[in-house]
């Protein structure tokens, strides 16, 4: 018991960082997917780049919000 308590305390301390890191990982994957698809779309139809830029920025912003939820609301 006495040896387990500090380990548990450490685990609790770590968990916040893991949760923040996982949130950022998910957001990064989402932003990457949006960026990849946006680049692909511009490659297919270069004349639509303006509209794709707006949609891409919106998609990235919505995906990115997840990271901030994880960072600020968690722990």
């Amino acid at each position: 018991m006495s040896t387990l308590t500090p380990i548990l305390a450490d685990a609790v301390n770590i968990s916040g960082s893991i949760q923040g890191g996982l949130g950022c990982l998910g957001a990064a994957i989402g932003v990457g997917l949006v960026g990849a698809r946006a680049a692909e779309a511009v490659g297919r139809n270069p004349s639509a780049s303006g509209k794709i830029l707006v949609q891409g920025i919106l998609g990235m912003a919505l995906a990115e919000a997840v990271a901030f939820y994880a960072l600020f609301l968690g722990k």
């Binding site: 707006v54 920025i57 912003a61 901030f68």
Partner: protein
């Protein structure tokens, strides 16, 4: 988006590599778009690019100087404080002993005052024959309008545009104020980049939410809002009656989730802006602590881009939220336009 393109091309290319702007051919000239609803019959058209180029050449020169000099300023700052940037602003004074005045509030007042002063002194009254500065500002506004109009919809954009354009310009300058402050380092501890404070961004998000509520209720109405949120979007003619009833219940349940997602919008708007600007500010300072000379300048350039993108994101999302409800009428009009044949549309031929 010409404004963004001009700016981005400016940041990416060195100044000396930009070829001189060729004078537009007579046929290529077009009359200036009437953003202030002023027709300029017979007035010689101005070339759009040249004024913007001038405007941004100066702006970019200022920011280049700021980012390079920021290295020196941050070196001082690094010696002064071992820890990173504090997440909270510091209270400078309390008016009447109660109402706190923080350093980020001071910065936001400064930025707002500068915008008012700029408009008052440099622009004055909009003239039929635009001065150089007026042409540049008009170009910025036209670029913004061209981006926002298809999102918000033709009907609401004249009413919503002042709010959205103010969001963009105000937030942009507040974001960039952090990079400019790098110039002074620790010499100005009473100023803090305004959007690197959750209170500022939360206030902006609440204003955005209030604006959304106003525009939606004023130009779409409570009925449209309720139908958009809770209403059954299935077509009664295509769906069997029991399934339709089931879908009504389902859409009602979805509407509850929708309400939660609407209510969480101010939180996500404010967290996004605060997280990006505060994170960038921390990055600059931490890099300044690790490698005081030169390296923070790279982060500052990144921060200029992020400040621009985040200002655009805040404005775009505010516009999208308004457009989600208000732009629906236009869509129906175009869908039932007489010149468009109803029924299935032929898919575009795909290249082999």
């Amino acid at each position: 988006m010409s404004f963004v393109k001009t700016f981005v091309s400016f940041v990416v290319k060195p100044i000396s590599h930009i070829p001189p702007h060729p004078p537009p051919a007579a046929s290529a000239r077009r009359p200036p778009p009437a953003i202030f609803e002023i027709e300029r019959p017979g007035f010689p058209a101005f070339s759009r690019g040249s004024y913007m180029r001038l405007f941004f050449r100066k702006t970019a020169a200022i920011f280049a100087a700021a980012t390079v000099l920021s290295a020196a300023g941050i070196a001082d700052a690094a010696a002064a404080e071992a820890h990173g940037v504090t997440p909270d602003p510091s209270v400078l004074t309390r008016i009447g002993g109660v109402f706190p005045v923080t350093n980020s509030m001071l910065m936001s007042w400064l930025v707002a005052g500068l915008i008012v002063l700029f408009v008052r002194l440099a622009l004055g009254r909009p003239r039929l024959a635009p001065t150089r500065i007026q042409a540049a500002v008009e170009d910025l506004l036209i670029g913004l309008r061209d981006v926002l109009a298809p999102i918000v919809g033709k009907r609401v954009i004249p009413h919503a545009f002042p709010l959205l354009a103010s969001f963009f310009i105000y937030i942009l300058l507040m974001n960039w104020s952090g990079v400019l402050l790098g110039l002074f380092g620790e010499f100005l501890p009473f100023l803090r980049p305004a959007t690197a404070d959750l209170n500022t961004t939360l206030a902006l998000a609440v204003v955005s939410f209030g604006g959304w509520l106003y525009f939606v209720l004023r130009y779409a109405g409570l009925r449209v809002l309720a139908r958009e949120t809770f209403g059954n979007k299935a077509d009664r003619r295509e769906v069997a009656a029991p399934l339709y009833a089931f879908l009504t219940v389902l859409f009602l349940a979805v509407g509850v989730i929708e309400v939660v997602s609407i209510l969480i919008r101010p939180v996500s708007l404010s967290f996004r802006l605060y997280g990006n600007v505060f994170g960038g500010e921390n990055l600059i300072h931490e890099l300044g602590r690790l490698a005081p000379l030169g390296v923070p300048a790279a982060a500052s350039f990144l921060e200029i881009l992020i400040g621009l993108i985040q200002a655009l994101v805040f404005t775009l999302l505010s516009a999208v939220y308004i457009g989600l409800v208000c732009n629906h009428g236009d869509e129906h009009e175009t869908a039932h336009a007489p010149d468009k044949p109803a029924g299935e549309t032929t898919p575009a031929p795909t290249p082999a």
